[in-house]
């Protein structure tokens, strides 16, 4: 009993050690500074603009429509904000995550990890959480924009929180995908490139179904579509289905990373 407890403790300690090391190294890198800088300039340009438009349409309602009918700060402003962040993640996560395994391989620090008392699972999870923590930090900061509107209006907090949960899960999917891309080669460029292709592919997969006309096909595609599931979260309905969908995608890609590391151990 005691030894099982001890093993679990060591499991978390090793995973956390790897995660913190990579998290620190990413947070302190110029890449992270540059990325957050540019992203926040982008958000700081768009968010006030959307907010202003929303306020204007409030003040000068379109003829024939009463002032607040069908108007909602969540759908008119926050959803745009969330889709900007999604757009940023789509392209930035592959770049942020490209180093995670590819550079370890290139610098032979991978040898250190492989010959330390560290299992493949601990390595994979540690790497994964380091990236996820980074994106969590980013999301936390990006919450400043919607929350700041609380000074002059009432925020629909429920849908906002559920949107952010959806966004975080989506970030989890991108992270797993990009960690997988990073596990495939020693090249940072290839890793980022493959990560982007996979992300964009996953994101736009539903577009195919919607155009195809077949109802069965389009409902399958709808189930596989990241955007459809994110929409559930944005609407404020915490659908179990969508939770399961995101989590299974994450687990699927982490499993691929795990296999990729194990492949080196057993076949090389």
């Amino acid at each position: 009993m005691n030894s099982v407890f001890n093993e679990i403790k060591i499991f978390f300690r090793q995973t956390f050690l790897v995660a913190m090391k990579d998290f620190k190294s990413m947070v302190l890198s110029p890449l992270f500074f540059g990325w957050t800088g540019i992203s926040f300039i982008f958000l700081s340009y768009n968010f006030p603009r959307d907010l202003f438009r929303f306020a204007m349409s409030y003040a000068m309602p379109v003829f024939g429509q009463s002032a607040d009918q069908g108007r909602n700060i969540h759908f008119d402003v926050f959803v745009a904000h969330i889709s900007y962040i999604n757009l940023i993640f789509l392209f930035a996560v592959p770049v942020l995550g490209m180093k995670l395994l590819a550079e370890e391989k290139r610098n032979r620090t991978f040898d250190l990890l492989m010959t330390s008392p560290l299992s493949s699972l601990q390595m994979v999870l540690g790497k994964y959480f380091s990236l996820l923590m980074l994106l969590f930090l980013f999301l936390l900061f990006s919450l400043i924009y919607p929350l700041s509107t609380g000074f002059f209006t009432e925020i629909p907090l429920g849908p906002l929180v559920s949107s952010y949960i959806g966004l975080f899960l989506l970030a989890g999917v991108y992270s797993a995908v990009c960690l997988f891309a990073s596990s495939l080669s020693q090249s940072l460029f290839l890793s980022a490139f493959i990560g982007m292709i996979l992300n964009i592919g996953l994101w736009f997969i539903s577009q195919q179904g919607q155009n195809s006309g077949s109802e069965v096909w389009s409902s399958i595609m709808d189930y596989l579509s990241l955007s459809a599931h994110l929409t559930h979260f944005i609407k404020g309905s915490l659908v179990i289905n969508s939770f399961v969908f995101f989590l299974s995608l994450i687990i699927f890609f982490l499993f691929l990373v795990f296999k990729s590391v194990e492949f080196i151990r057993w076949r090389s």
Binding site: L17, K21, L28, N107, L112, T115, S116, P117
Partner: protein
């Protein structure tokens, strides 16, 4: 302490090593000698549990590396061909990280890091970013990394390769200091390196072990054939006969101003040869013992051409 049993490893259809077996005893420092591509790195990666062999087993201190990797890897320090360092870390932080990774007890870590820094001579760079260190220092950080958990077993893959001559000498000094405190296997393709640092040598070629010898036995064999190289200012034929008359000189051949002498394995011969040249007024420029290269060793040990 280290037991390799019938290791075979294929890359695709290509055999990198076949049926490699050897034992390294506690406290020994063993040289793993072979030319490039012989399979040294492959063998070491298997010893460390980096990758599994197609066949065979490895025991570190009696623990099977592939059945109980967690236990085995805690006994182990490994320096790969390139030092496994993170260039965006500070030397001290890096060593601390490695110590944690090796599951060293938390309380001992500051002390372990301190001792690794001292033993490898990193005091002056301990607060520097690894990125900014010279190649020699990076290699030393790599070695400190292998040492930091104070493991019973050290596996060092070509610890002096790629260093400049001064750094090589310094690195060998550090390696000699480690003698007796750990069980060490170090690979190299340089014969003299083994002679300088090791107790015993295991020679590998084309993926197969050719021989295992104590260093004294090896030197004995190698000494049976000794050559002296001699360079003079102006050569005269009279010198040849003078040299041939020296007791212990077996044969003399001449190529312009360079003479090559096959001699018997006694040290006094060098002295006598030097005297003969000086008294001959040919002008001694250089006299040195010919280093045996690996190829000579193979020819001597196997009677085969490599």
């Amino acid at each position: 302490m280290i037991q390799a049993k019938a290791l075979t490893k294929r890359y695709g259809s290509r055999k990198a090593i076949s049926d490699v077996s050897f034992t390294v005893n506690k406290g020994e420092i063993v040289g793993f000698l072979g030319p490039n591509g012989a399979g040294k790195t492959t063998t070491m990666k298997i010893l460390t549990g980096y990758m599994a062999p197609n066949k065979g087993e490895v025991y570190l201190d009696g623990v099977n590396v592939f059945k109980e990797p967690f236990t085995a890897k805690q006994k182990l320090g490994y320096l790969p061909e390139a030092p496994p360092v993170y260039s965006d870390m500070i030397v001290e932080d890096y060593l601390q990280y490695v110590a944690k990774l090796k599951l060293c007890p938390k309380k001992q870590i500051p002390q372990l890091v301190e001792s690794a820094i001292k033993r490898v001579g990193l005091q002056e760079v301990r607060q520097r970013l690894i990125h900014n260190l010279s190649k020699g220092f990076k290699q030393r950080v790599g070695l400190a990394q292998a040492l930091v958990s104070d493991p019973e077993i050290l596996i060092l893959d070509e610890p002096t390769v790629g260093l400049d001559p001064k750094q090589v000498i310094e690195m060998r000094e550090v390696l000699k200091q480690l003698k007796g405190q750990h069980t060490i296997i170090l690979s190299t393709h340089i014969l003299s390196e083994v002679q300088m640092t090791c107790d015993r040598v295991i020679i590998i070629n084309e993926g197969e072990i050719i021989t295992e010898e104590s260093l004294s036995a090896l030197s004995q064999k190698m000494r049976a054939k000794r050559q002296i190289l001699l360079r003079v200012k102006k050569s005269e034929d009279s010198l040849i006969s003078a040299l041939k008359n020296i007791k212990g000189v077996l044969s003399v051949s001449k190529n312009k101003e360079v003479f090559t002498l096959d001699v018997e394995p006694e040290d006094q011969v060098n002295e006598k040869v030097a005297q003969a040249v000086i008294s001959s007024s040919c002008g001694l420029i250089e006299l040195k013992e010919q280093d045996f290269n690996l190829e000579d060793v193979f020819i001597r040990l196997t009677g085969k051409q490599v």
